[in-house]
Amino acid sequence: MKPFKHANKSIELIDNFLNTIDRGAIIFKEGVKNYLYGNRENFVDNLKTLSALETDADIYRRKVENILYTQSLMPQLRGDIMRLLEELDNTIDLAKKNLFQFDVEVPKIPAELNQDFVKLSELSAAAIESVVPAARAYFRSPELVKEKIHRVYLYEKEADKLADSIKRRVFQELPIEKLSEKFHLRYFTLHIENLSDAAERVADVLSIMAIKRTT
């Protein structure tokens, strides 16, 4: 039906966009794991996939923006929706940047920290993975958003705690001689931790948007 042509197209694009973000989080997690355990080939593969996913996400976002504005769809909500998509896009951008930093800077991560780094990346990825269903819920049943985003806050908090513990171990417990290496590790901890912060920002935007739609 013609009036629904653009609506259906933008719904499809948004769904694809959210799938891409979700996949991006999984690939990021895998990438970090492969780097830490020295699977160089797999890591490079992950890096390429994530890079492609990030490009796809950008394309979907721009297409949605184009349809919403050229077809004057949802004049009251489109600003909020575009902001939501931008914040979500930011998470996959950050994930890609992080993985690239691993590739370029090749940080020396002591084997004792491998487990912690894996867990940190898993927590950050879990925050993103939890925010995606919340974003999906906003479009169809905004009253469910609230019960979905509490997980994001939980994972973000856990990621923060773990990042603090890693930094403490790097500077106080582990026998790392060079200060530059300590700094390097601190930055990488921060980079991964930032991912969960980005997911938290999405959750904040979502909660306000859901309130706007439900009241």
């Binding site: 009036p3 719904i11 769809l73 949802m74 009251q76 906003y138 479009f139 739609r213």
Partner: protein, 585 residues
């Protein structure tokens, strides 16, 4: 003609109603940018006219019952000052009720003429001022709750919902416009009904009596008002009273349309009576009041958090000020019209005569007494004219579009041609440049061959002269002379061995090819002498000390010393390779 002049005030009132009340139907939709103003204006105009013509009679009779303005002069003044009041209120950006302005103006007329005011009708009308908004509130609240529940259950995607709401808004808007025309045409043309002409226009499919023609004119005036002035009011209503969501906007329009429809539908009243219920009074209801009621209803369901009390109180103030102002204006205006201009504002007909005939029988009665005009033929003519005009318009539009496309194509082709031409020019230039370069090279080669030729002949001459001299010396008896001449010959040969000209040629060519390098070298090391620069070039060519010595016409030792000095001068470290350094310069 005089009749038309007198109803001009009614048309003005229609214009002001269109400019204000259309905002109640499409204001929220246009204000929230769900529908474009143009589309809203077209839908509203068409349906307002339809409602006015086909369902406008009921409410206008009640208004006539309040005070039958029996003279055209009086009707003119009443409508004019009701319209003037509405205009003033609009200028003050207050949502204004045309119904109240008209009621106030009619009361002003009854006070001035001393006619009896039918207080039962007045009570009926005033009661609708309360029941209208209350009904609007109830309808809106119920509909809003139902809509919310449905949306929650169906889980429609927000973007799809937007399209549904858009369609629903257009449909509800059309219904609202129809109801507005049906209910509020009484405000515009109600006072002129007693003066309506007794004619009946027969269009074949339907007939229009005098009152309906009057309503048609009023409807058109409302349409003009919608197109010319309602956009600003729509923006104010759409954004001012409540930050309405599209869903709420739909409910508001639907609730308002339902209320206006119920207060103007003769059939619904009959239905209520048929099932033994009291009928709803057919009264012109203020659409503004109903909208505010509906907005309040939604606000109450939402928890009354978003209602802007200040705007609401401003609206309420308008309700009180409007009828009073209209009444006072009309009262004094009638005084002037009657006493200064000498126009009769009343005929003072006894009350029992002005009682209106029954609604059902009216068209037939009118048909009996009115002058019948057959409009089938003129109607067909107008229709065919309209079709012809439309076809001509479409033809020209198509032609224009075609020309535009052709023009675009030509521009495109022109651009392509220009680009092609520029490309060709570039290619020609490149070929010309290449030709010049090749002819230069040819010239150089020719000169080289000339030089070689000259050189060969020069060498030949020299060797011939040496050979001659040696032959001469072989037979020379004077030993002293022979030694002297042999020494001279040896010196000549040594001098010849310096290859001065060839070396100069060589340097000339080499400097030509290494021009950039020499510029760079001079910029970085301005203290270098010409000889050192030549040495640098030779070193850059990776020549050995022996070769350099030959080319510079010095000994190998001197070449090595010169090389050492150059290294020191350009500040090269011990291990650094001078060739690499000069190559990377």
């Amino acid at each position: 003609m005089l009749f038309l002049i007198f109803i001009s005030s009614g048309l003005l009132l229609g214009w002001s109603l269109g400019s204000n009340d259309a905002a109640n139907i499409f204001g929220t939709a246009v204000g929230s940018r769900m529908i474009s103003f143009r589309r809203a204006a077209w839908i509203a105009s068409i349906f307002v006219v339809l409602g006015a013509v086909f369902q406008g009679r009921g409410a206008s009779e009640t208004l006539t019952g309040l005070g039958e303005v029996d003279a055209l002069g009086g009707a003119f003044t009443v409508a004019l000052f009701a319209g003037f009041t509405v205009f003033l209120m609009t200028r003050a950006r207050l949502p204004v009720s045309t119904s109240q302005a008209v009621v106030g103006a009619i009361l002003g007329w009854t006070f001035f003429t001393g006619s009896d005011t039918d207080y039962s009708v007045l009570t009926k009308i005033v009661s609708t001022w309360v029941s209208g908004p209350v009904l609007g509130m109830i309808f809106a609240a119920i509909l809003y709750i139902l809509l919310r529940k449905t949306l929650r259950r169906t889980k429609i995607h927000v973007i799809k919902l937007d399209t549904y709401i858009r369609i629903a808004l257009i449909m509800a808007g059309a219904f609202g416009a129809y109801s507005l025309g049906a209910n509020n045409i009484a405000n515009v043309m109600g006072v002129f009904v007693p003066s309506a002409p007794d004619i009946l226009l027969n269009f074949g499919i339907f007939t229009l009596d005098g009152v309906q023609i009057l309503f048609l004119l009023g409807g058109l005036a409302i349409a003009v008002g919608i197109f010319t002035y309602s956009e600003r009011v729509m923006q104010t209503v759409g954004r001012g009273i409540l930050a309405l969501t599209p869903e709420a906007a739909f409910i508001v329009v639907l609730a308002q349309a339902l209320v206006l429809f119920l207060f103007s539908s003769i059939r619904f009243s009959e239905m209520l009576m048929a099932i033994g219920l009291p009928p709803l009074p057919l009264v012109p209801v203020s659409s503004t009041q109903v909208v505010i009621g509906a907005v309040l209803g939604i606000g109450l369901v939402k928890g009354a958090r978003e209602i802007k009390i200040k705007t609401l109180s401003g609206v309420a103030l308008g309700w009180i000020i409007t009828p009073i102002t209209a009444g006072i204006f009309t009262f004094f205006a009638l005084f002037f019209v009657q006493n200064v201009f000498g126009i009769a504002v009343t005929k003072q007909i006894p009350a029992e005569i002005i009682e209106m005939p029954a609604i059902e029988s009216e068209p037939s009665m009118l048909a009996d007494v009115a002058q019948q005009i057959n409009m089938v033929l003129p109607g067909l003519l107008i229709l065919s004219m309209a079709i012809i005009v439309l076809l001509v318009y479409l033809f020209f539009r198509l032609q224009k579009k075609r020309l535009k496309t052709e023009n675009e194509l030509l521009t495109h082709q022109n651009q392509y041609f220009n680009a092609q031409k520029a490309l060709n020019d570039m290619e020609i230039n490149a070929i010309q440049m290449e030709n010049t370069m090749l002819s230069n090279q040819l010239e150089i080669k020719r000169q080289e061959y000339n030089n070689i030729l000259l050189n060969i002949s020069d060498q030949k001459k020299f060797l011939e002269s040496v050979s001659e001299q040696i032959s001469r010396l072989i037979g020379e008896k004077d030993l002293e002379k022979r030694d002297r001449e042999l020494k001279a010959l040896s010196a000549r040969l040594k001098q010849r061995m310096s290859f001065a000209r060839e070396i100069d040629d060589f340097y000339g060519k080499i400097e030509q090819t290494h021009r950039d390098f020499i510029v760079k070298l001079t910029e970085r090391f301005p203290d270098l002498t010409e000889k050192e620069k030549r040495l640098a070039i030779l070193l850059r060519l990776n020549l050995s000390s022996k070769e350099i010595a030959t080319l510079m016409n010095i000994s190998t030792k001197s070449a090595e010393i010169a090389r050492y000095r150059l290294r020191k001068k350009i500040g090269l470290k011990e291990r650094a390779n001078v060739h690499e350094f000069l190559t990377n310069l």
